[in-house]
Symmetry: C2
Subunit: 372 residues, 2 copies
Amino acid sequence: MRTRATEMFGIDLPIFAFSHCRDVVAAVSRAGGMGVLGALYFTPEELEHELTWIDEHVGGRPYGVDVVMPAMYEGADLAAANGEGLRDRLAEFIPDEHRHFVNDLLARHGVPELTHSDTAHFLLGWTDATARPQVEVALRHPIGLLANALGAPPADVVGQANACGVPVAGIAGSVRHARKQREVGVDVIVAQGTEAGGHTGDVATMVLVPEIVDAVAPAPVLAAGGIGGGRQMAAGMALGAEGVWTGSVWLATEESDTPPGSLEQILGATSRDTVRSRSLTGKPARMLRNDWTDAWEGADSPGALPMPLQFMLIADALRRVGRIRHPRLTPSPVGQIVGSLNRVKPTSQVIYEFMAEFGDTLERLNTVVRDD
Amino acid sequence: MRTRATEMFGIDLPIFAFSHCRDVVAAVSRAGGMGVLGALYFTPEELEHELTWIDEHVGGRPYGVDVVMPAMYEGADLAAANGEGLRDRLAEFIPDEHRHFVNDLLARHGVPELTHSDTAHFLLGWTDATARPQVEVALRHPIGLLANALGAPPADVVGQANACGVPVAGIAGSVRHARKQREVGVDVIVAQGTEAGGHTGDVATMVLVPEIVDAVAPAPVLAAGGIGGGRQMAAGMALGAEGVWTGSVWLATEESDTPPGSLEQILGATSRDTVRSRSLTGKPARMLRNDWTDAWEGADSPGALPMPLQFMLIADALRRVGRIRHPRLTPSPVGQIVGSLNRVKPTSQVIYEFMAEFGDTLERLNTVVRDD
């Protein structure tokens, strides 16, 4: 296949696959698409380790790295003014009411307390301060793409990547955000509809993609949100995209490290079983509806805190529910396409099925006019 | 063009256009698609009048009628037991708190009271009792399609239509609803995503259409929600649909009777300016976000009542705001595609642009693989 995206990135198939799992990333790239590793949960040292592994297993094919530099977050001014002690300063913004709500919720579900608190690592997961060292690490590897979620990245980061010959992709949920990304030099816009998993806006892919294509032309656009097979790939490209950006579909692959409890819920869920919730990070993110999301919607919920305070607030709670893998309290980001994930397959088979269905779809569309 | 939908209905283009305006219906059918008149707001006598007009202006081309027979509504048991006096019985379910909330809201916005109450006409807009006489009227005209929203219609109504040679379409927002429609004999499923205007579910078109296509195969499916042009038409058909079902796009046509105040708001709105709200009928319906929808989301809102009580509750209020055309208090059902409606065009031009863009899209998709 040939689109402006395959040409820009030197790949065979315009399928971009976001995953937190290095095995999926390498497998997608080896199959002709482009795997993109989500760096968020890794320290710079861990990220270095993961990327070295990918370099050794990707067979020289291009792959990407996705970081999170939110354009706006609580305490951004503090972060700029004072890198040291930022965590403690931010912690002061978390009300006791919220701490009690989280502790009570876990107590009601019988989740054991931690024997000691060890929250050093990911308290600041959603700030520019965490992402910049990740960018430094990523650019020391032969990556083919740097992606950024949650708003326009700092212009100097775009320049830094481009100087290394690495195009930058930005994920946008609205025309306004897409334009902002372009203003700071982002090369490729990922137009992501509300049906996507994780952080997402409120406009659906069907409406959003053509809007963004028209707004940022001639910049290439990838369609994201609801893309789980070849019919949806063809639809995304019919909307004007040069390729598709996918995520949820890789959670149910043999290569993925999706925890067994989460996998079971993913395989059993329908497309109606997700909800956009602020309960994980403070910004709306689509995830499986469960006791966790219901609790934050409930009448006695204090409401989620703004990013990054919400994630700081719940960090210990996540480790507590993670330790016992509590299925109904573990936030599970996934898109509405979860309804079609009913079986675990090899990554290469998913890619093959995408392409076979894409081919069938195009043939079917041509029949509509051919018999005219 | 040729799809199973064009063959079933004897039309040239698989574009179905829902409208409350007879002029739009006739214009779409004359242009080769199929106009479908929304009968909800008409008495049987008015509907007779509208359909006679269409018969005289549609040039012998097929057109359809859309009725609303909700599968579930408050008081359905009363309706079955006692057709007489149903309105008064239902009115007893409306709490005073809700009446006060509506009256206070309009008073705050300076909306004049009615000099006399004349609510006889559409109090029962959303019950089977209203829709059956509409079906009787419709089937006396040479209609080519009977459509039903809000759940599976009674099986005898499907049989009645089919006996007249009229296929029945059902609008579904989930796989479960689509299956129920098929069980009562519905011929064509309109898979309508959350981005659609009016009553709508929570699953996006991109995810919903393939799910429903697979669930009801080999029954033909039309794609609805977010369809405003040829790229979206091609996308909907790539997803497996045999054609597209549209609505919002016709509000901004020269033939439409959209009130000037509403039209202005539609032309100025972005795709982010809609909200799914229960404030009009008690069931979630997408409409422009304005003071009306905000009030029902507010902290002092008593919450919407179930169908049909909500519409009974607000009937007088709608007439009051309608009389002065209060732009910020008039509920305006429209889909997210409203963001691309920026100019009023003749209906025939909209159809032409659909087809031209569809052709360009297919050509572009073919290039992707042709250069392989």
